[in-house]
């Protein structure tokens, strides 16, 4: 296994809210290896997006994050000042958002956005002592747009964000990320709002991106099938913590945690016949914090030990873990 580019231990994030304190992330441990795509799967309220935002320090004032370990390429991230972190974030760490429109300045054309990206990359290059000629950035921009599957780059460059469809905007955003050549990309549900066919194309794009730029990606999604198609390893989150972690194929073909089993069953059942298997109940709200396993109220295998104390991760395969007392 290649070296770990990102190491996170005991990540906790809390929000101050009128109703009390909301613990969105309750102790997440994960490693991202060089050149790997790690899927973070979960539904609303699972904490998957907040995990991504916490790592990149993109949370609002009312949030507080802590971790016993938060390292990027061996460098401690926790100790960095906000300015130092921001510099890192612009050049080595990138984020692709669910709603691409939010990443664009609505008053500026696509061309402006791409030129800004090139400018920033050149500035970063200068800092590292490299001189980059960005003379003909327009040609470079068009090449980039073609690489992300846009057929008429010259026309698109002239347009404003609101004139482009969601799929196109997402492609342009990915082009901008490509241009930056970051080491680590956190992609937060980048295909959720897109139609199936466009989604598949964007996922293929991610695969290409990953290979070309040798980026390491944390891919956040609620869609099992998407994660299966793209990721090397997956971490399934529920109620603020990781409940299962392992190689993608193994987790899908033999899920161990009852929640994962339910998700996989729902994802595959629609193609088969018969009645859909339901997971009864609803995911817990972030205000509710139970003493034991948070999935217990919905679990068909629940037993006394489940509600007594928080379950810990147990080994269920070579590189596969599940947070469930069933595997003692």
């Amino acid at each position: 296994m290649s070296a770990a580019i990102l190491e996170v231990r005991a990540l906790r994030t809390r929000f101050r809210a009128p109703g009390g304190t909301l613990e969105a992330v309750r102790g997440v441990d994960l490693d991202l290896h060089e050149g790997e795509v790690l899927g973070l799967i979960g539904e609303s309220g699972s904490g998957k997006t907040v995990t991504g935002l916490s790592i990149l320090r993109l949370l609002p004032e009312s949030a507080s994050t802590e971790a016993t370990l938060l390292r990027f390429r061996g460098r401690d991230l926790g100790g960095l000042s906000n300015d130092a972190f921001r510099a890192l974030r612009g050049s080595h760490l990138a984020m692709v958002f669910q709603n691409p429109a939010g990443a664009f300045n609505p008053a500026k054309t696509v061309a402006w956005h791409l030129s800004e990206t090139f400018r920033r990359r050149a500035a970063r290059g200068r800092e590292a002592g490299r001189r980059e000629a960005v003379a003909d950035w327009r040609a470079a921009a068009e090449t980039l747009l073609r690489e992300v599957g846009i057929a008429e780059p010259a026309r698109i460059l002239r347009l404003y964000p609101h004139q482009l469809s969601g799929g196109m905007l997402q492609r342009v955003l990915i082009a901008m990320v490509l241009a930056l050549e970051p080491d680590l990309i956190i992609a937060d549900e980048p295909t959720t709002n897109l139609d199936n066919i466009v989604e598949r194309q964007i996922l293929a794009l991610f695969r290409r991106l990953q290979r070309k730029v040798a980026a390491s990606i944390v891919f956040i999604t609620h869609d099992m099938t998407v994660a299966a198609a793209l990721c090397d390893r997956v971490a399934v989150m529920y109620a603020g913590e990781i409940v299962e972690l392992g190689p993608a194929a193994e987790v899908f073909n033999s899920p161990k945690h009852p929640y994962t089993q339910g998700l996989v069953a729902t994802a595959t059942a629609l193609s088969g016949g018969g009645r859909l298997r339901e997971i009864p109940g609803e995911p817990p709200s972030a205000f509710e914090r139970l003493p034991g396993c948070h999935f217990a109220p919905r679990c068909s295998h629940v037993r006394a030990a489940c509600t007594a104390a928080q379950p810990t991760m147990r080994r269920v395969g070579a590189a596969h873990e599940a947070r469930c007392v069933l595997y003692d």
Partner: protein
């Protein structure tokens, strides 16, 4: 009671003939036309007790068909016939008696309920408006409806923002059912819900439809969700209905190239446990709204021919209730009009 659908020979419950709906083209590029056709000549029938799926991506016009059928939008051309009555241009007063029979479930359950009204009030309004029960009976009737969609009676005091997506959609379904409608248009009712809750709501739809024998126009972008509930499925692309067939036929023998593209889904890969290399289509993105006169799918079609650029193929009947709009796959090969 499964996939055969109703065999009620005779008049369909609802019929759309060459429906055309246009909208003003906002955010258009200079040179693009001012109006575009969201729905461009769609004809469809729904029989009593039948579940018809309408599948397509965003921009296909499927939601517009659903809303226009309910007269939330005004059609530019075409006819809507409900129970033999032409309701295309009826005014609000003339339409009112039909309102009980035509209801809708919306995609976003939270915004489909008035944030200032309690659940109880949301359910009581239709009951009282159409005098379905007396004022005294409202409370127990509301309780009954809540129970029928799997919610406790205590829900009636709650406000929409206090409920989860799944619970809200159940309330919306309950509200639609208060009027005992003959046809419900369900517009992507599960796409905004958590995956673990989707199965619950789909099963609820299945049960309710079977128990009450109502017709359903089930609009979705997910063919597999459509497969679970629908007797027949129509596939839409850019305002046109390109294929219509009984569910199993659509899946076992898709005819239109777009249907085939939609069917190449990821969960096949999931079961194989491998990640197949996907074709990376470097080419034109979707045909814009102001597309040329030819087949709408021309730009992306792998089997297109010269004749396809001239005119959009008409929807043509093949065997066993299957329809397709394609020169290559239909029997109009070589015979462009």
């Amino acid at each position: 009671m499964m996939k055969t659908g109703s065999d009620t020979a005779g008049a369909p419950l609802l019929r759309l003939d060459d429906l055309v709906v246009e909208f003003a083209n906002r955010h258009r590029e200079p040179g693009a036309p001012r109006r575009f056709r969201a729905v461009d000549g769609v004809s469809l029938e729904i029989r009593p007790g039948e579940v018809v799926g309408l599948v397509g991506e965003s921009g296909s016009g499927k939601t517009t068909v659903g809303k226009t059928l309910l007269r939330l939008y005004e059609p530019r051309a075409g006819r809507i016939t409900f129970r033999g009555n032409d309701i295309t241009h009826l005014g609000p007063a003339a339409l009112k008696p039909h309102r009980r029979d035509l209801q809708m479930i919306f995609q976003d359950p939270l915004s489909s309920l008035n944030p200032r009204h309690t659940v109880g009030r949301a359910l009581a309004v239709p009951l009282l408006l159409h005098r379905i029960c007396s004022r005294a009976e409202v409370s127990s009737e509301v309780g009954r409806i809540l129970a029928s969609v799997g919610l406790s009676a205590a829900m009636r005091e709650r406000y929409p923002h206090e409920l989860s997506g799944g619970q809200l959609q159940r309330v919306a379904i309950g509200r639609a059912l208060t009027l005992s409608p003959a046809l419900i248009v369900a517009d992507e009712p599960v796409s905004k819900l958590d995956v673990s809750v989707r199965a619950q709501i789909l099963n609820l739809f299945k049960d309710v439809q079977a128990q009450l024998g109502l017709s359903l126009l089930f609009i979705t972008h997910d063919l597999h969700v459509a497969r679970y509930l629908c007797h027949r499925i129509g596939v839409m692309f850019f305002g046109k209905l390109v294929e219509l067939a009984p569910t199993e036929q659509l899946f076992s023998r898709p005819r239109h190239p777009y249907t085939e593209a939609l069917l190449g889904t990821l969960d096949d890969e999931l079961r194989k446990g491998e990640r197949a290399e996907r074709d990376f289509v470097v080419g034109a993105d979707m045909a814009g709204p102001g597309a040329a006169a030819g087949c709408r799918y021309y730009a992306r079609c792998p089997i297109r021919r010269e004749v396809c650029a001239a005119a959009h193929p008409p929807l043509e009947a093949l065997e066993a209730g299957c329809f397709v709009a394609c020169y290559e796959r239909g029997s109009l090969t070589g015979r462009a009009s």
